[in-house]
Symmetry: C2
Subunit: 211 residues, 2 copies
């Protein structure tokens, strides 16, 4: 019989929603406790402070994200396909964890103010894994000469931004201030895959031979 989800997990889930909605500073511990149906003292019993709760949450998600990306990087597919897969994984992660895009956006804006060394290390595995794919592709002549970190942002930023902006885009559409974008995020994923494939392709004029 499926046991009822235990307190710490419920708290983490509630915190994810609250932090996504309001950011670290805007998040209210009372609200998190209420959403999790525990009282505040219980929350402090499990996670010492608002900050530690926040960091625990981030480490969890970025650990999973890093693992998935590393699996792709370690695969045997051609670099072009790995990038396609990476784009799909980013999009999936962002949909599976709706709080991810908001939190990423905010944490970037905040210059990582709430992150400790360990959390930063976990977080950094994601761009590292992606950069490895790009570097491999450049070396193999599958991509033009790119800065792997620049390439990472070229891909991740639109996915995160597009997903996170869905509510505000819907509002602007309702106000007739913006044409409604294709609401299917699948379409956007394909748009990104197609765009990046072209953007990263080596110049067609001459075939580069691996030396």
């Amino acid at each position: 019989m499926p046991r009822r989800r235990v307190s710490p997990d419920r708290i983490l889930a509630a915190a994810a929603a609250e932090f996504a909605d309001r950011g670290f500073a805007g998040a209210r511990v009372d609200r998190i406790a209420r959403r999790a149906r525990v009282n505040k003292a219980m929350l402090y019993y499990h996670f010492k402070s608002k900050q530690r709760l926040y960091r625990t949450l981030l480490r969890r998600v970025f650990t999973r994200a890093g693992e998935r990306l590393l699996a792709i990087a370690a695969g045997a597919a051609p670099p072009r396909d790995k990038v396609d897969e990476a784009i799909a994984v980013f999009a999936t992660l962002v949909r599976e964890h709706p709080f991810l895009p908001s939190v990423m956006l905010r944490e970037v804006a905040e210059e990582g103010a709430h992150l400790d060394r360990e959390t930063l290390t976990t977080l950094a595995r994601v761009p590292r894994a992606f950069a490895a794919i790009v570097a491999e592709g450049i070396a193999a002549g599958a991509f033009r000469d790119l800065d792997p970190i620049a390439a990472y942002f070229t891909i991740v930023a639109p996915i995160v931004f597009f997903q996170a902006s869905a509510p505000i885009r819907r509002e602007l559409s309702a106000m007739r201030l913006m044409p409604p974008a294709s609401d299917s995020s699948d379409l956007f994923v394909r748009h990104m895959q197609e765009s990046i494939r072209r953007a990263f392709a080596p110049d067609a004029t001459q075939k580069r031979s691996p030396r």
Copy 2:
């Protein structure tokens, strides 16, 4: 003789820095007042509330951004060049107003919670102007078939993200967790221009004739 900057302007400048650093919820009115070298009562005298101060600030910047982009859209250059110009303008805006990327990131994450109708209207002029350029390019056969709004995010998100993430990237580099990216934002602008030019190009196999 250049008169000393008047209070409301100093307050707006200070507010820009504070909101960029901490977000709306994290921003402290006391700090804004101190940064502006006015006292808190003065701030409330000019701008009624923290929220009105915030909105005033955003309307100012997005008004300028919208104007610049509309000027490009109205120009006579070919669509490809207009997009190059738009990319350059976004990058310039983001550098001229260092608070812009943080605030955009946060406002997207917050689903526009602090924005009223008027501010949203001002803000929406930017994607509208850009989408017009893309639509023109598609109609002229200069671009492949794109969702103009998707195209907008494909461009703006990396620029904003890359600029806003500079501090956290520097930290990660210092921790040896990430290779230092080309710090020159000019390089990134050229990367984006080159990438987008390729990403938006129509299929080379067949020339489309305008009907």
